[in-house]
Assembly symmetry: C2
Homo-oligomer: 615 residues x 2
Amino acid sequence: MNTRELVELGQQLRVDSVRVSAAAGSGHPTSSMSAADLMAVLLANHLRYDFERPDHPGNDRFVLSKGHASPLLYSAYKAAGAVDDAELLTFRALGSRLEGHPTPQRLPWVETATGSLGQGLPVGVGIALSGGRLDRTDYRVWVLCGDSELAEGSVWEAAEHAAFEHLDNLTAIVDVNRLGQRGPTRHGHDLDAYARRFQAFGWHTIEIDGHDVDAIDRAYGEAISTKGQPTAVLARTFKGKGVEAVQDREGLHGKPLPDADEAIAELGGRRELRVTVQEPPAARLLHAVGEKHVELPRFDLGEEVATRDAYGKALAALGAGREDVVALDGEVSDSTRAEAFAKEYPERFFECYIAEQQMVAAAVGLSTRGWVPYASSFAAFLTRAYDFVRMASVSGAGINLVGSHAGVAIGQDGPSQMGLEDLAMFRAVHGSTVLYPCDANQTARLVAAMADLDGIRYLRTSRGRSRVIYGPDEEFPVGGSKVLRSSGTDRLTLVAAGVTVPEALAAAGALDREGIQVRVIDLYSVKPVDRLTLRQAAEDTGCLITVEDHHEEGGLGDAVLDAFLDGRPVPRLVRLAVRTMPGSAAPDEQLHAAGIDAESIAAAVQLLVEQAVVR
Amino acid sequence: MNTRELVELGQQLRVDSVRVSAAAGSGHPTSSMSAADLMAVLLANHLRYDFERPDHPGNDRFVLSKGHASPLLYSAYKAAGAVDDAELLTFRALGSRLEGHPTPQRLPWVETATGSLGQGLPVGVGIALSGGRLDRTDYRVWVLCGDSELAEGSVWEAAEHAAFEHLDNLTAIVDVNRLGQRGPTRHGHDLDAYARRFQAFGWHTIEIDGHDVDAIDRAYGEAISTKGQPTAVLARTFKGKGVEAVQDREGLHGKPLPDADEAIAELGGRRELRVTVQEPPAARLLHAVGEKHVELPRFDLGEEVATRDAYGKALAALGAGREDVVALDGEVSDSTRAEAFAKEYPERFFECYIAEQQMVAAAVGLSTRGWVPYASSFAAFLTRAYDFVRMASVSGAGINLVGSHAGVAIGQDGPSQMGLEDLAMFRAVHGSTVLYPCDANQTARLVAAMADLDGIRYLRTSRGRSRVIYGPDEEFPVGGSKVLRSSGTDRLTLVAAGVTVPEALAAAGALDREGIQVRVIDLYSVKPVDRLTLRQAAEDTGCLITVEDHHEEGGLGDAVLDAFLDGRPVPRLVRLAVRTMPGSAAPDEQLHAAGIDAESIAAAVQLLVEQAVVR
């Protein structure tokens, strides 16, 4: 498109943004209007995209990091012929694909859900990593950012990651409209302030007037031709550009325009320009989608192996059998044991350094290109990325997250390093799977099973060694459990997972010697739980004692309740969990202090027997 | 101290770091040895600190952001005479104050718990804000950072915040030892790389040899005399400095030295230097510690008021009555309504822009100086700061966090903006309090009550208006609940909180008209829960239906279980919660789609009655 047409297209995008927000009675038209020219030039002259084939491997990838500017995105879809005007006007209505903030669950052209600011660029880096290092096709990744969101540290994790990896296929377009939600940003229209920061992190920067379509056009061209580093196009714009009543004014964030008809008139009225978006070049996916045979590691009964070690070995085995598996780690791969994969498949391993948000975002980005990512850190430090995990679930992204060094069982390092909230955090994520193995063979099987699940999959591993109690051919379906000990005279049921399984077994043995029979269940699948087995145990024994190396809320103790939430009789329940703030101590001292070791479990059972609480 | 003494002190700190790690059989001596000279010069020549009066308002504040270098910190305490050698050797043992990573819960000289990297500088900014803007005493804040942790985005949120606020009382000392846990950092010994970044964010930088005590001494002096901006001292160091077997070598992170005796000999043997740390200048706290009368806002029965509006008004009222209350917000104060406080008390309001990690860290920092912070954002976006919340709890910090726009009830904006995991997230934090009011008077009372609690206090507010159902003089003890409807013939109990309270009441009314009596409990205190009232309801009605605008895990439904975990009979339980991924829709459509509106509740009750599940 030429200058005049681009100007017209920008105005059309503004008009349509005003229209959809007026129709919805809510939305962010002013934030759309500032970026309309940036979007118009991209759509008409630079983006290579086949809207009929969103999965085309050669397609450029566009991420609207400022997800609230969804009116602009949907107006661009209309200009490209992907949605019609009638659908456009369903914006924000019940059942519409055109949500307040775009999500790939509803729209095939959206790469990742946005709306939590500072996440688009990190995910864009993941997509660009895929393009540059794995797919080796020359698609570009374009990320439209707001200026406000540059205050999020995650943006600078992304900036660091992108420059270090020389991602010259990545362009950040920053719509510097000077106004956040509440008022002016820290740097207003000072483009140099942003340029200094991006340059310091190793980016090429271009500063332009974001309403000068020729300048925008040249900037995009320069970004495409810049080699060896990513480019940030810093565009000075006005929020609400083109409508006097709202342009560059405070207090109008997230509100329809006061008079839509008048605004549309001022913008020159409705237009029906149709953009022919450039076809992507021919390309193909490099990784095989078919599954080969995976030869998982096998561990001998009685062997002492840490589940984190089993994770590393299983991941490496998965890497051998499946070319679509990739791994990421937050600079602790010697601890999480992801290093086993890194050594075998360095080209499919991504060192994310100490930047857990960026690690999860990169995993999400890689997943959008068909890769099956496993990202690992200490369980405690995955809390750093909770907003990214939450948004990944909104995206419907399929990613595997592995948290090592769970619980007080890590010992001397103390509470800062102990994952004690991770089960609660991951259970609360919509559609998630939460797994917590107790031995090496179980770990290996679950690591392989995770790959083919939907949504957020979380596996919790332990630092210390534990005895292998399952044979290498035992199967562990997700949603299952193992009854490790059972008799016709069980007086209650111990429900354990991970490090508390051997403790529960030891307690059961000790109790047996005193004539007290108890059932022991290994609830390795914390979400979904094995409802049938738990209900049977409730029916048979009447009382469940959960034992977990986790804070008392949101973990195993709450998980068992899922089996009894339809109004059926609920068994008696007792919860053994970490109730105090731990300090430093040896692992066995920690378990004892928390009241979750064999001795504490046996004592709790005996108390219940003495009190005649159990049968 | 002169050059020779400083060198000796540095060696002593190394020797003691080696000794304590050897005694413990774990710990991070090599990470301590790199920073020993940096610490020696600070302790001997620049820090002003009275170890006998850690609360002295004139004390400088030191934060060990690289918390794993605790051997160095404790060795410095010994050199200052604060701990003796016998205690020093209890490092990492059960019951010792000298934990693997330092925490203020155990040691009075520790400002904030560290060990999750990238948190010390953000908290240090909060302390420096207190010093600069509130306390107006001239204490300095010194933060010793590792180089690896500069990959965390939170460090750049802190850098941005500190420079924007011109915190010239803050010095970051970066121990650039080139090696992370797993291997080399991204930038190795390239001090310029870090200098460019800090300068771009507005800091003064000084690059030095971190083992040249005179250079260190001059750098600290320059930092002290630099006005108008914070200073970063970037020090080139060697991990394991001084011991050939470990110096600058990979693979030795977090491990005692292979031969401690030999290492101590190589370092010149044990020393018993005692440092006389400079006294702090006379100073006094500016804020009153005594409580004045707080005149809370009063709302009329039947009035329609959003709980977020009540929050803003109550916070402003608290600000009037208590000079120790401060407020922070993540650039959404027009939405959270913290703006009501900001307008009245701008000097006690901290705009943190879109940087939730930094907001929570600043709140923690302010709390260390005796302020009572209220920090607010959308409930959804507080997930961004989960690791900071977790670490604040390890610190034992007393902070109030307020999440607005909770649940599907926000309506059209869609899932990215809906807090649906917040109750689970905050419940799982050790020692936390979780409150969820349903009307304006209840909100006001709870906002005031929060101020005097210990630990992490979380309040959940709603976007839309709701009818005032409690009088302004009603009291709402934390750990309590309100029985809103009750009869001798209740067939079950509805347990609701926040937006589901009016829905539950409406359902109860509709059921009443069909001859079905149900009890209704407003469980505004989600943690701790009102055990007695829930147990009474269980005894009287036999069945509890929880109704919550939250994902089904970790929220209200799990919270009620806390009343029944001692082996007593558990009532039948039914959970109504958000089980699917919401889209955009009007608030009432959202509640209906999630199955938590009055109609859905009544239908669920009728089904249970028909199935004869309830009495």
